[in-house]
Symmetry: C2
Subunit: 414 residues, 2 copies
Amino acid sequence: MSTISDSANRAREASQVLASIESETKDAVLRTLARLIRAQSALILGANTGDMDAARESGLDAPKLARLELTEAGLEQMCRGLEQIAAMEDPVGMVTTERVVESGLKVQKVRSPLGVIAMIYEARPGVTIDAFALCFKAGNACLLKGGREAAHSNAALAELAKRALGENGAPESAIELVTTSDREEIKEMLGLTGVIDLVIPRGGARLIEFVHEHARVPTIQHFHGVCHAFVHASADLEKALAICTTGTTSAPATCNSLECVLVDAAIADEFLPRLGAACGRDGIELRGDSRTVQLAPGAVAAAEDDWGTEFLDKIIACRVIDGLDGAIEHIQQFGSDHTETIVAQDEEVCERFARRVTSSCVLTNASTRFNDGFQLGLGAEIGISTSRIHAYGPMGLAELTIERYIVRGDGQVR
Amino acid sequence: MSTISDSANRAREASQVLASIESETKDAVLRTLARLIRAQSALILGANTGDMDAARESGLDAPKLARLELTEAGLEQMCRGLEQIAAMEDPVGMVTTERVVESGLKVQKVRSPLGVIAMIYEARPGVTIDAFALCFKAGNACLLKGGREAAHSNAALAELAKRALGENGAPESAIELVTTSDREEIKEMLGLTGVIDLVIPRGGARLIEFVHEHARVPTIQHFHGVCHAFVHASADLEKALAICTTGTTSAPATCNSLECVLVDAAIADEFLPRLGAACGRDGIELRGDSRTVQLAPGAVAAAEDDWGTEFLDKIIACRVIDGLDGAIEHIQQFGSDHTETIVAQDEEVCERFARRVTSSCVLTNASTRFNDGFQLGLGAEIGISTSRIHAYGPMGLAELTIERYIVRGDGQVR
């Protein structure tokens, strides 16, 4: 038996214990882990420095380096996240609906753990802790396959998680790190039906496609976000400018950052000169269609494949389109079902946009950067699903469970 | 382009229209279809007679013949089902949660159609109408691949559905029948990512395994039910007898019928003679372990593979086990995550059973036959999911949608 199937089987066994573990034990594990991370921050940052040095040497690009880096402040945020998750209500056992039916049966839908969740992700080591904490709080064991670049950081973090589990009498295999990057072994993992209940890939197109091709266990994709802002003729242009510029500058390397601005032809003359100036001021590269290049100072000509590209950098593609239908057509062709926003004072147009654009999160008069579990009030998120199955949009604790039926009777037959 | 991919693409186009179709139009289509089925019942029953004759000739077994057969009463039930679904609330656009978050954003989760749903099923022609009606009401187009045995029945029913769609100005490709049984073409269908959003296979092990092996689009399995009743030492034996016998006699060929009775050793002497007599009276074949054969008149020795087998006939396997732990161990080894029930007057034992057995539906003191969308108050069901993803247990209208986020702001940025 391979290492990966050993790990998966250990996680499976742990999941059977976790299914009926007390909430108090789970929360104690999360709080212990926060304490251990704070106490051992030098060790973790040392491991991360090793990863960063190797990554720089191998020529990793700037956005990826940014995602790989851990800082003292980042660790503190991680610990607060753990404490927040510990303080949240346990989703397991939660009754979501309850009714008494004609036969007198009392029918409940109750949240239960999924079982074993495998995550495959890339550079961010913080995901290791976030994913473990959310999976564990929802009663699941997790099998974590992070990026090779983050190997030392992930190992240091997982080691502390196991220690926190052990100190509280919980099964240490509630977290299992997959250290191989061998494609054949990963394929094997993706085929472990009955051992793994769900695979969540988070990352670039190649990773997602690999998982899509080889997974036999259910998957929920956390794909990239090619996010659009449509500036309608009725837009408040000040708001539009703020939504467009901060949408990329506040965190260019995140999936909810803005990639593309669609400008209603009716206001192109007025809006584009201001957008060009604002981008110049904020250090954003503006890649436009011919109309944009004409009207926006500093804009360069967009290449055909700039539409539908996730830049992960301070770059915005910009195109002039004809009204709502033009915007929707562009989004249907180039969007990624992730996040789109409309800037418009005309509420009816906003509602039509929200109804017809069926991305996982559609906003009106707000930045795409709000498509995030914390910002939307979920308390935490394991990622943002772009699969229209099980969960679509930010996945929090509830989305890591499944509802099953518990039905109480008094001898009813049919 | 193959026929199957043509059909799928037509369904995809229809789904784009259905996403924003009015509730009134959907309901009118369903009511028109009921009217057409009543008016054309002779034609449908004639087509079904053709299927039945051919099936008998080819030696189809009794349970399958029973599932293939349509009757006047069955058609009337189908029509009432359509009218019930028409009368149900439209799930699309339903707001499931709503909150205002710190930033002032108004966050809604709203139900949206999945898109295109492909169903692969076996003999029952009634599924053609049920599946269409539920998918359509939830705003989805459907691609239906029924059993070859039911080809004429399905063609007659789908023809009427298309007519009902056309009469109400809805796209006729909201229902597309897949008439090929060529494995290569079905494989192609299972790979149509981006065209088909969900595949629901309903049927035997070979069908499920085929879909599991070849599907690249998400699937939710509607597998067989190997359903257990555990008769605890504290059971009311009258209730236990009724639950055990009617669990199979009331509809042996359904997935929620009872397969296996687990008898607590503490009451075996008292219960088994009565179970044997009741089975004899009701024409149920009782296949037991040695203790059962000893104590239950008429019981025959069970073979090893009777445990975990879905009989689809008036057969019950019976075993004497040691208390709750023994029952749970047996269910974990041989169960199918479908339906299990406990008969016990001790409420604490009932609760422990309900917590530790994680099948899609766990009942206490009620027949397994109640695991059914109608009986549990869903109004209707497309099947019973045994996949712990998206939906687990009976799937009704809500389970054929996905929730997405609509977020309304007033210029918020971060």
